[in-house]
Symmetry: C2
């Protein structure tokens, strides 16, 4: 008779058509495609910290994979295989079934095989590792930005952080607005197609998980450059537009995090190519600023208003040890 | 000024000489060797469950990697790259420095690059993912055992479980014995060299993490066979020999787990080859039983005493949801 533990493991045993040997041995065996290098990333989600404990478990499974897929998008990589480590406070089969369903639905949509994992008892924790493929010279790295590059961003920013602020009662949203912001927080859509299409077009890229200013700051540090961003150019949703004057909304826009949009830089000569790429992948992209030489070696991001005056920005992203 | 979070991340940023792009981007980039497939495994260690909270943090780092390396050994794979996700209750730099030192020392010994990770606040949890390489046809799988195969095991069994039993006051050990058993529990040595040397020699393999009977049982299930093991043949340490008559010690030997030895099967014609392999890798190996046809389809492990009578064995391994 299977134990509860074995029953739960069954939720993570699925067909792995793109894999030589899937779940059930000491390790899975995968066959990398010739001519590609592998992109490898991992993200850990802690219950009560990265998601609210009362959230729909299907969205937890979705998000655990989505944030890892977003790292693949930011590298221009095609995601192929994932592993999942889970610690669960109790063997709650319904919760696990829903969580697994959310994970697997997104995995199938992107052709990702779940090839291994580990299930144990402990405070709620999901740790996903993702492996993707990309031609070595076409990977979108953080260290390729050059002075003169345009700065671009996909989608719209800040909605997820707005939802968190609403939940923490730092801002009051209309019910319909709150629902739409919450959707962005719980069900982020990784920009896989855009990332792959930007191979050979973008010079650097990152996904926005800690907030625009912090993440663009990472590109600047790694590339030894600085960036100027025009606040008024930042793409916002219809929801964000209604609250944009609130300081909380501005902070969400610049430093909120959990956006999982791509921020990338490209030479001005590539503007038409970027626009074509966006049209082809049906993704909104917006030019928001420019890469400049780092003044006195300070690789920072300056956000300016319509008059060219600096906007007070949250330079720091979300620091888990604050 | 770096935050505590950034300071802690520095403990996990090391040279990655075997890696195209290491820590610091959205993903690492690795270049698989031609003609090899990749073996991928993950193991999650929860503080207070997989290790005692007051244990030497250096051993925690060692063990987190060791249990993953052991999965590579059981596949006959050469470990090459690892990622590490960590949740920490607080930013304790000393604890992290010691844990990281234990992890990295073992990584260097086996030529493994730490290529990525994620550090967050939360109940203590370490999730390691390991990637190794093996020629596709030579991987040691669980499903290759055939009736007539010898069953072999490396090293000595049960010491780690004996240490846990002593700590839980289910058995009393002499201080020197307890220290030696504790060493086995805290500092397991993965059998990488043996696993790689068994390519083309063993027909199936698994590492003993849940206990001999449970893990050999996994080989039997996957291979559609059964196995008979002679209790008196089981290899024991000098420590275990002194307590062997105690029921707790017998349970540790058969079902204790945390051994991280290899259990493998090989055709009798390969006996000399197995012995040579063991000598070459300076590993003790012991022939403990035989693979048989599954009687009435029951793929189970029977342990017999010197008179050929069944020993009551803990068929179940360590179930985290019991």
């Amino acid at each position: 008779m299977p134990t509860e533990f074995e029953l739960i493991q069954q939720h993570f045993t699925h067909a792995t058509p793109r894999t030589l040997l899937g779940v059930g041995d000491d390790a899975a065996l995968i066959t990398p495609s010739p001519g590609q290098v592998l992109a490898v990333a991992t993200d850990m989600l802690v219950g009560g910290r990265h998601f609210f404990m009362d959230v729909d478990p299907e969205s937890v499974g979705h998000k655990a994979l989505a944030v890892n897929l977003s790292d693949m998008a930011a590298m221009g990589a095609m995601p192929r295989w994932a592993t999942l480590g889970i610690a669960l406070p109790k063997a709650d089969a319904r919760w696990v079934a829903a969580m697994s369903a959310g994970f697997m639905k997104l995995a199938r949509r992107h052709g990702v095989d779940l090839i291994g994992g580990d299930t144990t008892r402990g405070p709620l924790n999901l740790c996903v590792q993702i492996i993707g493929e990309v031609p070595a010279r076409q990977a979108l790295r953080r260290d390729g930005a050059k002075p003169g590059d345009d700065v671009w961003v996909s989608g719209a920013l800040g909605d997820a952080a707005l939802a968190v602020a609403a939940r923490n009662q730092r801002i009051k949203l209309k019910p319909a607005d709150r629902k739409r912001a919450q959707q962005k927080l719980d069900w982020p859509l990784p920009r896989i197609a855009l990332g792959m299409a930007l191979r050979g077009v973008a010079r650097s890229a990152i996904d926005i998980s800690d907030g625009l200013v912090a993440d663009l700051g990472h590109i600047c540090e790694r590339s030894g450059v600085a960036a100027v961003v025009a606040f008024e150019c930042l793409p916002v949703s219809a929801v964000m537009r209604r609250y944009r004057e609130a300081p909380v909304a501005q902070a969400a826009l610049l430093g909120g995090g959990d956006d999982y949009e791509l921020c990338f830089t490209a030479a001005p000569a590539k503007r038409a190519a970027v626009e074509r790429t966006a049209a082809r992948t049906r993704t909104r992209v917006t030019r928001i600023g420019r890469v400049i030489r780092a003044p006195e070696g300070a690789c920072k991001v300056v956000v300016v208003d319509g008059d060219g005056l600096p906007v007070k920005a949250t330079q720091q992203g979300f620091d888990h040890f604050r």
